[in-house]
Assembly symmetry: C4
């Protein structure tokens, strides 16, 4: 067990640098977590700590109710939402939360991002859906994420007036989904500024999604990129 | 005293790098200051000096009327406004001024940024208000800042046709407010390009603000992030 | 032959850094290829590999039907489109594909970028045209690129709901066209937000294009920049 | 003389890095020049050479008719325009040309940037004016710049459907004007997306301009920043 936790502390720490690299976060407002395989544990960012200050050692290990198991600092204030997702979606190995600009702009209007780009069909298999307005402090954010993603191919959900949560088979896949969600939210936002993006037919979206999830990259799953 | 001043020279110098990192400034157009605890003194950027050229040694120490106490260069041309804030708001330990793009765009229209994001409720506790048009050269900018912030939770004020001033318990908190002000000004600007952002209820804004100011991060105050 | 292949592996690898530098790509979504002079071969990025992981050694050599000749990884999933271009356009030595933001926004609407900037007249000799919607998996993307570019001066084509493909006499020229395509797509997008860009007369476009292709830079062709 | 030329080769070379830093240029599309004090000479970027490849040694020395005096490469294709400015504006010591995004968007519409920001009043003393459409190849660009700037406080002119030229007492001041021109072009563009920016009274613009040109910074002129 402790080998897995050590490795995942390192991965979760390092993946925050991708949020910075792709301008998905400012100051301390975004976080990555990963499930510890075979354990009822997750590893997550400490609360309110700057991205430059993150180390494998200051990552926080929590149980799936969000209680701290290892770590001197408080875990991310979004830990309850991450934990809820791991409890209710056993296939999920990683969760990311950001307030990335364009995704949050769609979220502020409570409007899903329509699937009008082939790259979006590839990664999201349709629109990026919108979850409910929910206050921090109980299960309402986690429940909103899980219920919204239940009826969707999308690994990303826009939480109303808030930001975006993404999931993946591991933390890297969830980070990729966060990067792609902002990218397509931006492109579709801009496309609409001068008219109506052309729709893509449902069967074409299905065909693109199927190919990308099963053929793209160096292994059988689209999320695996080295 | 001189130990405090030396430490604050270093902090004020270093925090300017955050303005650059988050693209809040171009050329020399933005400045950070800090109050020297227990003294009627402030430390501020020299005027018209590039961010790459700043050192703890070339920071300027002024009294709270803006007169130079230590330093070979002229202090920021915004020193009078910073000094006015410190004289009239004893709880303020840091002040930041920028012309950051989106905040300045709202300021050019004289329009407050409405609170339609949970991150904005957390940090600003409501809208970011607009202060008056004021010329440099007397107390009118400082007075406009203080009077506008008096009736607001917000640590940021948009000065009409000008830019943004932020305050904090220390200089780092004021820099954080400047970073967050631009971030939410940008997201809300974009959200409005395709419709009306959904409002957040007043009681939800109050609840988010209260939690963030009292629980978030590793200590009792939201501004303290390491 | 193997000397040429070794050189081109290095060039193709290095040119991907320009896509990153100019923010034309996120994650792994964009690729550069080059023809091996005098051989029925091309060198292209491996599929789903991050830009930081690229080396001359992991570039893939394919024949002009897209079959792998050298390389342990799978080639880019866009290899068939690149190969189709090399088979049908013997003057083309390099091909680039990206989902760069503004170009893709025009592509989502299926709208060509009108030539309203002198820099656009220089590089594109007129509008940037739009090719058809085409699914991956057969020749339809490659055929769409070639047929659309046939009647145009432009080295760039927007593929509907997808992104942009560019060509050049070598890979560097194709990368330059990708950089310039995004740059003019962005500027014209913004120009239109507040009114109608002024047209440039056809004869002036022709004059600018002729001069730039024949005089600019240090040699006889505009694409040659050192 | 040769000492001055050596120093100015270094300054002109280095100042191109500021165009890159502030995202005013892509590929090779922008250039800085400086007058050699007391000589009928200018130093300018070579044509079509990438910013990473610039050295003091490959800068080109020309006379004020644009003929090469020292240098193995061809000078910038904009050399005739720079030379025209130096011949007709003896107070000008530096010239910059870019296609920076927002300035070029205003130029594409042939619309001046209105003075609705105090920072714009400081630096430009009013609107940024628009010059005529002009083809490269004779004096028409240079004449358009000089005639348009004649009736203006502004050190920047938008050339219709083209980009921006700026002037200064030296090359650094011209670079600063190019940086500030893009900054205010962007902010005013964004301000107008959601309504009408509030005007600044003419007398306030005059007062701000006068103060900034005579008091700001560490010396008597606003352009001098170290």
């Amino acid at each position: 067990m402790s080998t897995d936790i050590a490795r995942i502390r390192g991965e979760v720490c390092d993946l925050h640098a991708e949020l910075v690299r792709y301008n998905l976060v400012v100051w301390t407002a975004g976080n990555v977590s990963a499930r510890v395989p075979g354990e009822n544990l997750l590893v997550i960012k400490p609360s309110g700590v700057g991205y430059d200050e993150l180390t494998p050692e200051n990552m926080i290990v929590c149980d799936l109710d969000g209680n701290v198991v290892e770590g001197d600092l408080s875990p991310s204030s979004d830990t309850a939402a991450h934990a809820y997702v791991y409890r209710h979606m056993p296939e999920v190995g990683g969760v990311v939360h950001t307030h990335s600009t364009y995704a949050s702009a769609w979220a502020a209007r409570g409007e899903p991002v329509p699937c009008v780009l082939t790259a979006m069909a590839d990664e999201f298999g349709g629109e990026i859906p919108v979850g409910p307005f929910a206050l921090i402090g109980d299960d309402s954010i986690g429940r909103g994420i899980v219920e919204t993603l239940a009826g969707s191919n999308s690994p990303a959900v826009l939480m109303r007036n808030h930001g975006v949560f993404t999931i993946g088979k591991d933390a890297k896949a969830a980070v990729k989904a966060a990067v792609m969600a902002e990218d397509v939210a931006r492109t579709v936002h801009l496309a609409r500024e001068h008219g109506r993006p052309l729709p893509i037919e449902e069967r074409d979206i299905a065909s693109l999604y199927d190919r990308y999830q099963n053929v793209y990259g160096q292994s059988a799953k689209g999320e695996t990129t080295a």
